[in-house]
């Protein structure tokens, strides 16, 4: 919906870029924020559409550093069009798309294809991520400068970490003049072996190969050492273990250029969910055990890991929340746990999941918003700061959400083509009401209330 000027009134405005958290109004026009604060009705331009924001929260649009849109190559799992709608419904105005497409994003032509496709099909901003190595094979560096010039947001080989330590060192060194971060999916393959879930009591009970926490921690430790040795910019993708948090904390304390992200599911769901019954206590494997919608990489871990990650996020050791939205077709999940594809469709449930932490007092609302907006821009760099602000003159990428709306997750209603979520059938509290990108209302829920148009129509 194209609206020339729009005002959101009486909402709780949270803008981490200037530590703003107050009830007030936001005026939007010509794709920009025009004013934020308490605006008198008389100061509003004639013809402005008015949204009643009472009881709602208004923040900069969420920025997802890590999602899978599957296009080109895996359009049966997700498309840029469907993924962008899912993002919009989840409050995300910018999606960074991982390069594990076919062909992978290791040259400018693929970057341009995604950019063109996004221009045609996408409601939200799509920022392609470029491969660290050619074909994501971990053998030779990709043409990183060409990718940077074409506009990639950062570099990653995604699910295939850069295994070779020397190559990772060279990647950090070579890219250090490009101003873009290398996001590594830290997993020491010689330790994770054929693992399909977290090592621990549940894996033992179900006879599934476990992935030890050390698989993640060993590679994080390696990469931190390499970042220190080279001065290169390291971003650690999706932390999942309690032991990863102090590694990142200590690196930051030493002043290293290291950032980290965590996913909503690693903050709210444990490996108990693999036993079925949606995490309800079961002493034994019930009829729903081996629920493949819980299979994700890194794996769901114990309550102790969850608690440590929440503390790390709350304290700012972990800079941001990324979804690792990994949509899959039904066939990829209707198989044995061992055969099932890794991944959860997250975009549409992220906010509702994260608000559980806010409602239970484990994370402040301001911190949650910061980690979804300003946090990601700290990783991406100065150029993107504009997207995470409600200050006058910045881009009008905005989300409006109702923190208290209760709803039942029904995966069949997802905009995403991936219906693979363990949250299907569970209750969440908090939902997006409207999403605005560049001043355009790209998503509105039935809960959005217009108060009419200023000046009458």
């Amino acid at each position: 919906m194209e609206i020339e000027t729009l005002v959101i009134r009486h909402a709780r405005i949270i803008d981490p870029s200037c530590d703003l958290d107050q009830v007030g109004d936001v005026l939007i026009g010509s794709g920009e924020i025009l004013a934020t604060g308490s605006l008198s009705l008389d100061s509003l331009p004639d013809g402005a559409s008015v949204i009643d924001g009472t009881g709602l929260v208004v923040t900069p649009g969420f920025i997802d550093l890590h999602c899978h849109l599957r296009e080109p190559g895996f359009e049966y799992k997700e498309t840029i069009a469907a993924g962008s709608k899912a993002g919009a419904k989840g409050g995300f105005t910018t999606l960074c798309a991982m390069p594990n497409t076919n062909p992978p994003v290791d040259n400018a032509a693929v970057v341009e294809f995604i950019q063109q496709k996004a221009q045609q099909d996408s409601l939200v901003r799509i920022l392609p991520i470029g491969c660290v190595t050619k074909g994501r094979k971990g053998l030779e560096l990709s043409e990183m400068e060409e990718l940077a010039s074409a506009g990639v947001a950062c570099f990653s080989d995604d699910g295939d970490p850069v295994y070779d330590g020397n190559l990772m060192k060279l990647a950090l060194t070579y890219s250090s003049d490009l101003g873009l971060v290398i996001s590594n999916h830290c997993q020491e393959k010689s330790l994770s072996c054929n693992g399909v879930m977290a090592e621990g009591p549940v894996a033992t009970h179900l006879g599934l190969d476990g992935i030890p926490a050390a698989a993640e921690e060993a590679m994080i430790a390696r990469d931190i050492a390499l970042s220190e040795a080279t001065g290169g910019r390291l971003h650690v993708a999706h932390l999942s273990t309690a032991g990863s948090v102090p590694l990142v904390r200590e690196a930051k304390n030493r002043g290293l250029n290291v950032t980290a992200e965590v996913c909503p599911h690693h903050l709210t769901v444990t490996d108990q969910w693999v036993l079925g019954a949606k995490g309800a206590p079961t002493s034994a494997a019930g009829g729903l055990a081996y629920d493949t919608s819980t299979k994700v990489y890194p794996p769901l871990r114990s309550q102790m890991d969850v608690e440590a990650l929440i503390v790390g996020l709350s304290e700012g050791v972990i800079d941001c929340i990324a979804t690792d939205h990994a949509p899959h077709d039904l066939t990829s999940k209707q198989v044995t746990y061992q055969e099932a594809a890794f991944g959860i469709s997250v975009l549409e449930t992220a906010l509702g999941s994260l608000l559980q932490l806010v409602h239970t007092g484990k994370l402040s609302m301001a911190a949650m918003v910061d980690r979804l907006t300003l946090g990601p821009t700290k990783v991406l760099g100065e150029n993107y700061r504009d997207l995470a602000s409600l200050q006058p003159g910045t881009t009008a990428d905005i989300v409006i959400f109702d923190p208290d709306q209760e709803w039942m997750v029904d995966a069949s209603e997802f905009e995403s083509k991936g219906k693979n979520t363990p949250l299907d059938g569970t209750k969440l509290k908090g939902r997006v009401v409207a999403t605005i990108v560049g001043g355009n209302l790209i998503y509105e829920s039935p809960a959005l209330k217009f108060q009419g148009v200023r000046g009458g129509a």
Binding site: V202, T204, L208, A289, Q334, Y337
Partner: protein, 340 residues
């Protein structure tokens, strides 16, 4: 002729007084109560009597169809299920992955749906992936599923026949010390037996290299067996000490590939530390019995002497396996429909 004789045989329900529990599937042992295990053992005792008859045929499952669907090699489990079904007069169809549409890439689920559409009553499945029987049980609504061994997860019919065998010889499992020796990490037999033996009141001591124990079992008490059975589960890598005063010693099959994968320095060292031998067995209780789920690697996890010696009940295990599988086939195939 023998068929008509069989039909004349007195009805199994009359002669055995079986009281079928309402159970649709046998996926694991962890959802069996002690009472239900006892019930299965009771009816297996009746079944064993049938197996001892001159004409081993009763009409209990006449008109029922059982498919054994095996994605892994097997001798005793598959044959004993087939025999169990046939003695009960079910029509038993054997399917293996090789020679079936699996070779054309058909998924497990689609194979299951196809079998269900043919009107089969019960599927007995063995699969290399843990949880495969759960997939069938969840997605197929008209058939019963019996787990005949899934990946590293469970082998509930093996555990039940082992419990039967111990109980048959020693009367009860309450307070017994049962030592399970070897590769617990990769053993579905061990997983189900730990559960079953402990549930029946025995103390279970696991002995083997730490590399072949589930990591959470050796490192902490945060383990499903310990949290369920507390001190009745112990780990002791020293077999001589573990075996002290044991009533039952069970050796697990050691796959030779484990050495190449680095779990063991050598078979020689494994044999030296964990082979069940006469010397070690002398430390157990007099008359202690030795079990093995088979197939054995004689001379590796178990010495030839022991395997075929007087303390071995390995062949009884096989015989009892048929009886226990008859009982289970009967329970799941008849149970739910009787409820209607």
């Amino acid at each position: 002729m023998s068929l008509s004789r069989a039909i004349d045989t007195p009805d199994i329900e009359g002669s055995l007084a079986v009281k079928p529990t309402v159970r649709k599937h046998v996926l694991d042992l962890d959802d069996f109560s002690r009472e239900e295990i006892e019930e299965v053992l009771d009816s297996a005792r009746g079944m064993k009597e049938v197996l001892g008859r001159d004409i081993k045929k009763v009409p209990a499952l006449r008109g029922k169809v059982v498919v054994t669907l095996f994605y892994e090699a097997s001798t005793r489990t598959r044959v004993s299920f087939e025999e169990a079904g046939k003695v009960l007069s079910a029509d038993v169809i054997n399917m293996s992955a090789s020679g079936s549409s699996t070779e054309k890439g058909e998924s497990l689920l689609n194979t299951g749906l196809t079998i269900q559409a043919m009107g089969v009553d019960t599927i007995v499945i063995r699969h290399p992936h843990s949880g495969a029987p759960y997939l069938l049980a969840q997605e197929l609504d008209k058939v019963s599923v019996i787990n005949a061994g899934d990946g590293l997860h469970a082998h509930p019919t093996q555990a039940l026949l082992d419990i039967y065998t111990v109980k048959d010889k020693l009367g009860s499992l309450e307070g017994l010390k049962i030592v399970i020796v070897g590769d617990v990490l990769h053993s579905r037999v061990a997983r189900s037996n730990i559960w079953g033996f402990a549930k029946m009141g025995a103390k279970v001591v696991l002995s083997g290299p730490n590399t072949l124990m589930p990591p959470d079992l050796i490192r902490s008490d945060n383990n499903i067996y310990r949290s369920t059975f507390s001190s009745r589960i112990e780990v002791d890598t020293n077999l001589a000490r573990a075996i002290e005063g044991a009533d039952v010693v069970m050796a697990l099959r050691l796959q030779r590939e484990r050495q190449n994968a680095g779990f063991l320095p050598s078979l020689r060292e494994y044999i030296r530390r964990w082979q069940v031998t006469d010397d070690l067995l002398a430390r157990a209780k007099p008359g202690a019995m030795v079990m093995h789920p088979g197939p054995m690697n004689e001379g590796i996890e178990i010495s030839n002497n022991i395997a075929h010696g007087g303390s071995s009940v390995i062949e009884d295990q096989v015989t009892n396996g048929v009886a226990v599988r008859m009982a289970l086939l009967y329970h799941v195939t008849i149970g739910p429909s009787q409820q209607l």
